[in-house]
Symmetry: C2
Subunit: 169 residues, 2 copies
DNA sequence: GCTGAAATCACACATTA
DNA sequence: TAATGTGTGATTTCAGC
């Protein structure tokens, strides 16, 4: 059952800052939002505990590391029973190459974003994971030539007075 | 011109750890990879400076914040000149709702991942940004009903001895 | 919101391979 | 000689008031 957590202007400004850089000392953040350093720290801790901030991580650019190739996979299943869909999702959850997996409306079932080193690695992946799955009726690849935008942050409006937020779990 | 940066076992283990949590003290990390604390810190700093770690951020779950709706947009442009494509990409770069934007091969030009509060907000977005753009010939929406996987980390093989890596810029 | 103790970060230098 | 480990001061976190 989702709890409610109110985000005021200060919280939203903090979130905007932390989503760009979570390594800056709380003292510096405190100055930017015009509160004291301990208050700043306390608010950030509450945001983490409430689950508004789900994780604090280092981002590694796949393209900088030889994972130079990106592929989209549109997949249709043979058997769409809840059991088989859960099985497919669990499988994708385990495969490191699968960066994103969505169950979608329309003419196919799943949309995958796959990161691989090169075309050969992609071919190996498709043979092993997709056509080797046993429950894939049809699939089609689509190749992004350029990733023009990849945002990990949500822009919070800093003007609004207060925002009610549904926090899961 | 891409520089080369060698990643040994220790670097890769550090990257695996930091991609899960970048708030743990360097001392703890150092123990886990069996090096001293200052060495650990130095290696992390080098990974940041080399651009292997592109950013350190707090992650906010969109679904936890009322951005409960996700949409895919498949967009075809009228004018595919370099100038018009750059203009489109710049526009998408500025729009907060657009989380991802790819230039793709196939029967349409751009694939967008859009985060909005609800269907009405999505309608407003489409009217303002897409059909109001002047250079969109055709577009189609597709609605993900479930985000089964969204990975921000790359799994590094910790067994291999050393890996050469192309670092951009 | 303020102050102080505990912990962490980050540097200079010695050491080793 | 280049990279790691040791010791030490400056910052930062975080509890009590």
């Amino acid at each position: 059952m989702p709890k409610l957590h109110a985000l005021d202007r200060v919280d939203r400004k903090l979130l905007n800052l932390l989503q760009k850089d979570n390594q800056t000392p709380t003292r510096t953040l405190a100055e930017k939002v015009h509160i004291s350093q301990p208050t700043c720290l306390r608010r950030i801790r509450e945001l983490r505990e409430a689950g508004v901030i789900s994780a604090d991580v280092a981002l590694v650019d796949p393209f900088a590391l030889g994972y130079g190739m990106l592929a989209f996979l549109e997949v249709s299943l043979n058997n769409q029973s809840d059991e088989h869909m859960q099985e497919f999702e669990a499988r994708m959850g385990k495969e490191a190459e699968v960066m994103q997996c969505y169950f979608v409306s329309g003419d196919y079932d799943y949309f995958l974003v796959v990161h691989v080193i090169d075309m050969d690695a992609y071919y190996q992946f498709v043979r092993r994971v997709i056509s080797g799955s046993g429950n894939v009726r049809h699939f089609q690849s689509r190749f992004p030539m350029k990733r023009a935008k990849f945002a990990t942050r949500i822009a919070f409006d800093e003007k609004q007075a207060e925002v009610q937020v549904r926090v899961p779990k």
